[in-house]
Structures are given as structure tokens and as C-alpha cells.
Symmetry: C2
Subunit: 340 residues, 2 copies
């Protein structure tokens, strides 16, 4: 029996070493990443409900055609899957629309972080002439013209004398958007202890994602979104991907160090949000990973590594938000008319 016992011992040792190795990988991952929570605490139900209406409200745009959901589509990963969104009069946005999903966990909003939170962000596209092309005054006049909105704002902001305001519109949107989170991805199941949630290739990808250095920028709950880095840290990518006219965060800080600096893209649901980068010029996740390798890490990742990393990245797609399409109040005689 001795040889068999030895052999069994070897098997047990191997199994236990694999388990230890698996735990080590998970421990390492848990030191770097965090699962998406089941919900964001402290949200006001009336604000969330109002925000749901406002998110789908085309009358926040001058044309009465464009809503938040137009560019941050709930059905397609919270983004619009085009290089640059079509705004008022079919004008194109300067950068790819980032996903609204899990955006509440980002350190700041927009590719250059120019809005400190979702409330501040919400006011941007509404006023941007190439996006919704509206004004705070006109938005307030629009919302005040509909008794149902007046009542809903009153309920959501009971302390305010002027409950219907552009600011409160933004607060309600922030409340609703804070519910647009995607917990329970296979990766999060893995982080929480379910070893079978990832297969061998995906774990290899996770390992490669960590050891190659991707985690320098893509870490935390959103695998990114927490800090700013120059795009082309090691080697500038092609001008079609990093157009010279867009200097990123430099426009916000006017600091030369911030030229071509962008907030690290959060990678949650990245498999749903092509095309990639602020320029929206790369459709293929493999290609995007390869470009990141050369541009940010100075590494030519081989096809095997890229394939493993992409397999891993596909496991961070979480449970997508289930949203009931809201009923919106009818316009009245005093509702400002749409503008072309």
C-alpha cells in the first residue's frame, strides 16, 4: 500500500496546493478589486422615481427628441455603442459616451473628470449645444408647465420652496442613476468565494491582468474610474485613436502635465460597451487590450495573453438593471415648444 499511499498523498498535496493557489489568486484579487454592491444606500425613493422619468424625458432637450437614455441606453450596457453620439441637429459629441452603469462609483464624471459627481454631470449634456442644446431656464419652464412634474418634484424635495429646479432635476437624475448598477457578475461571485464562477482560462486572464500591470490603472470596484493617467504613457497610439486635438484633462486643469490625460476607463460590462477609448475608434476588445499593452505598459502582449485577458474581462459583465419604462406627463399649453 505504501506506493499507493504516497501517490494519494501526492494527489492530495497537489489538490491542496491548487486550492491554496486558487485562494492566493482570489486573495490577491480581493486586495485590488471590490464587488459591486447589491445597492447604493441612502437613496430617496421619490427622487429615484422622479429621476427615472427624467432619464427618459426627451423634453429635457430643446428638440424634444433626445433623452439621457438616447446616449446612455439602458438596454445596451448604459452606452450607445457608436463612436460619438448624435446630438442636436445630428451634431457629433467630441468623445465616446461613457456608460452610466456603475458610474456612481467613479471618482468623477466625464472622460476628463470635469464633473465631480453624477449631479454635476447631469447638467452638462442638457446644456451642451451639440448634445441636448437646452438651457436651465427652459428646462425649468418645461418641468413647471406640467402639474404631474410639479407634484413629483414637491414629493422628491419636500423641503424646497422652489422644488422644481434645474439643480433638483440633476439631483433626481443622480438618485436614479445610482440604481443603475450591475452586481453579481461572475467575477464578483468569484471574489466572494465561488471558485467555479471563473473557468481556468478566465483565471489565467485575471492573473495576466494583474501581473501585466493593467491593475495600476484598472482597479477598485469599477476596475478603473478612480484616477487619471496619460493615454500613451509609454507610447502614443495612432492619431486616429488619440487625436491630437483632444488634450483630455488639460482642458480642465490647464496643467501641462495633464495633456492627453484621461480618467482610467472603468471596465465593468466592458464587453457591452464597444467601441472603446474616448475616441470610440476601436470596436474589438482584443485590439483594445493590445493597444493598452503597447501604449500604457510598453508590452507587446501575445495573442494568448490577450485572449486570456479578454476572457477575464467578459466575466465582469454584471446583472443588468431592470427598468420599467416610465409614463411621462403630457405637455400643456405652457410647455415650451420643441426647437429644431
Amino acid at each position: 500500500m505504501q506506493p499507493l499511499k504516497l501517490a494519494l498523498g501526492g494527489l492530495l498535496l497537489a489538490a491542496s496546493s491548487t486550492a491554496a493557489h486558487a485562494d492566493a489568486l482570489r486573495d490577491q484579487a480581493n486586495a485590488i478589486f471590490k464587488p459591486i454592491p447589491e445597492q447604493v444606500a441612502g437613496l430617496d425613493a421619490a427622487q429615484v422615481e422622479l429621476g427615472r422619468q427624467l432619464f427618459f424625458e426627451p423634453r429635457l432637450s430643446a428638440s424634444h427628441v433626445i433623452s439621457c437614455n438616447t446616449c446612455h441606453n439602458i438596454g445596451t450596457g448604459g452606452a450607445d455603442n457608436v463612436p460619438a453620439s448624435s446630438g442636436h441637429a445630428w451634431q457629433k459629441g467630441a468623445r465616446n459616451s461613457p456608460t452610466v452603469f456603475n458610474a456612481v462609483f467613479n471618482i468623477a464624471q466625464f472622460w476628463d473628470g470635469r464633473a465631480k459627481d453624477l449631479e454635476e454631470q447631469a447638467k452638462g449634456p442638457v446644456q451642451n449645444p451639440v448634445e441636448m442644446h437646452n438651457t436651465p431656464n427652459n428646462v425649468e419652464a418645461t418641468l413647471k408647465s406640467m402639474p404631474e412634474y410639479v407634484a413629483a418634484f414637491g414629493k422628491a424635495f419636500p423641503g424646497d420652496k422652489q422644488a422644481v429646479s434645474f439643480d433638483n432635476m440633476a439631483r433626481a437624475l443622480q438618485a436614479f442613476e445610482s440604481t443603475l448598477i450591475t452586481p453579481d457578475s461572475r467575477f464578483d461571485q468569484y471574489l466572494k468565494g465561488d471558485d467555479k464562477a471563473l473557468d481556468a482560462k478566465e483565471k489565467k486572464g485575471l492573473q495576466a491582468f494583474m501581473s501585466a500591470g493593467c491593475i495600476s490603472c484598472h482597479n477598485g470596484v469599477n476596475l478603473g474610474g478612480q484616477a487619471y493617467f496619460p493615454f500613451g504613457l509609454v507610447k502614443k497610439p495612432d492619431a486616429s485613436i488619440l487625436p491630437s486635438g483632444d488634450k483630455g484633462r488639460f482642458a480642465v486643469t490647464k496643467t501641462q502635465n495633464d495633456e492627453y490625460v484621461f480618467r482610467a476607463a472603468p471596465l465593468r460590462n466592458v464587453a457591452l460597451t464597444a467601441p472603446y477609448f474616448h475616441s470610440g475608434q476601436v470596436w474589438d476588445l482584443e485590439e483594445a487590450v493590445t493597444i493598452m499593452g503597447t501604449a500604457q505598459l510598453g508590452k507587446q502582449l501575445d495573442a494568448g495573453e490577450v485572449g486570456d485577458i479578454v476572457a477575464f474581462l467578459k466575466t465582469v459583465t454584471g446583472k443588468q438593471p431592470q427598468v420599467q419604462y416610465p409614463l411621462l406627463p403630457p405637455s400643456t399649453a405652457t410647455t415650451p415648444r420643441p426647437v429644431d
Copy 2:
């Protein structure tokens, strides 16, 4: 006691006469109109479910930006509440987008009835160069590029060798749109016997709607939508409302009698679907009713009659459809790219 008995008898008589009168009004209304049913029978659940995705699918348009819901918004009465929709490259549609709600009950689709049903209708905007600007081939390539759609079409059309087809897209859309109905309006409650569902003014409006002759065109389950009539039967309205360049059904039949002929607008949820008429140039329901009086009936309805009729028309707003926003499959490497 004799005088009291007489007085009581008089009261009873009056009450019974009012009841008889109320029943007469309802009987008359029931001879002309029909309530919206709770549901349309015979729909295939898998087709409805696929149709729900397709209805919100922006990739049915060449730009990947415009979906059916863009112009037939579920949240705003099934229409878009602008004079003419903005299509591909911000081009304007030739006519006001009709509501999709209860459209299944119309005799035919479009203002000129050029599509015999919702299936045929669905193929129109997808291919119209000023609307979604797509082609059947490109739509099929798009849908075939996503395994989730291939599976959903297979489930919805199990008998078909080529389940993913432009025709089946239209069939699925028809199935879903057949669920977009609005039963249980106060008017329908009244038709079914609830005398208190309408107040005195609304009943007066119903009476006026019938006696003034509106019901010649606006009758049946949709209060319209069942037959074709010349706009300006008695007196042509202003050219801004009836532009001379749009000869309506004449373009379909090439029959001179059909010049400026349109399908009578179905009036269900009319309070939610401003602006009015095929030209979408009238925002106010009172004004629209007044114009109909002069143009179609040769009558200058007075303000009281108009007010009563509008009060009645507001009672035909039914229970709006509750729709879960669908999750759409991600594009793949073979999905045709958006076109500007």
C-alpha cells in the same frame, strides 16, 4: 298626504327619467363605439418578447441611434409629440408620427393607409431614407450577427428555415405592438355601464360629439382609424395645416377623388398625442376640435361645445402600457457598423 305623495311621485318620475336618459345616451354611444379589449387574442409570447426587443433596437437604423420607440415613444402616448419626427441625419418626416397605441385596431396603417397592417407598416420606417435609412439586407445581417437574436428568432418562428428575416422582424414587431393597447379609459368604463365614470360636462361633450356629426368619421373602437375622408370636406383649412404639397391617399390610389384624403385620426389617448393632424401644426386640442368643426362639418362650434367635446375627449385616455425596458444583445465582430 296626497300632496306629499304627488311630490314624491314627481321626484321618482324625474329620477327614473334621468336614468332612462342616461341609459339612452349610453345605448346610443354603445351603438357607435366599442371599448378597447383587455388584450388582443392569439399573440405568440415568443414573438411578443422578441418584438419588445426589436421595438427598442436602435440597430434597426443605419445610424444605430433611432429605434421604433424614438418616434413612437411608449412613455408619451405612443407618439413623439413633435410636429414631424427627426430621422436619419436630422431629416424631418413628411407627416406627424401617429401613435402606436391601439394601432392594431386601425383598418390600415400610416395617415394614408398605405400599409395594410402593423407588419407591413414596420418595414416602412426602417427603409425610409429620412427615417431609419436602412435596408432589409443590412437589417438581416445585423440580426444574424448576434447569437441571442438568432436564438430568439428561432424560438419565435420555429417552423422557418430562415427564422431571422426582415419579414419576421416585422411580424415580431406586429406581435409586440399588438400588446400596446390602452383599455379601461373612463369612457370605456362608462360604455360598460358605470354611469359615474363620466361627469355631467363630459357626458354633454359625448352628446355633442355625437350630435354635431364628429361620429361620421370618428367611431368604432378607436374613435376613428376605420375609413378615409377628405381633410377639408366642407372648407379647406389653412395651408399651414393642410399643406398643398401633401395630397394624402392620392399618392396611394392615384385616384383624383383621393386628393387630400386621409384616414380619420383615431382619437384614443388624443389628450396625450399633440400636436395634431398629419401636419402636426396644431398643439391645442380646443383649436383642433374647432378646426374640425369648420373644415369637416361646416359648423362654427361655440366655445361651450368645444369645451364639452374636449372634456369628453380627455376621458378616452386609457390605461397606458407598462413595458419593461428590454436588454439587447451586444454587437459582435460581424455586426455591420453604424453609418452616419
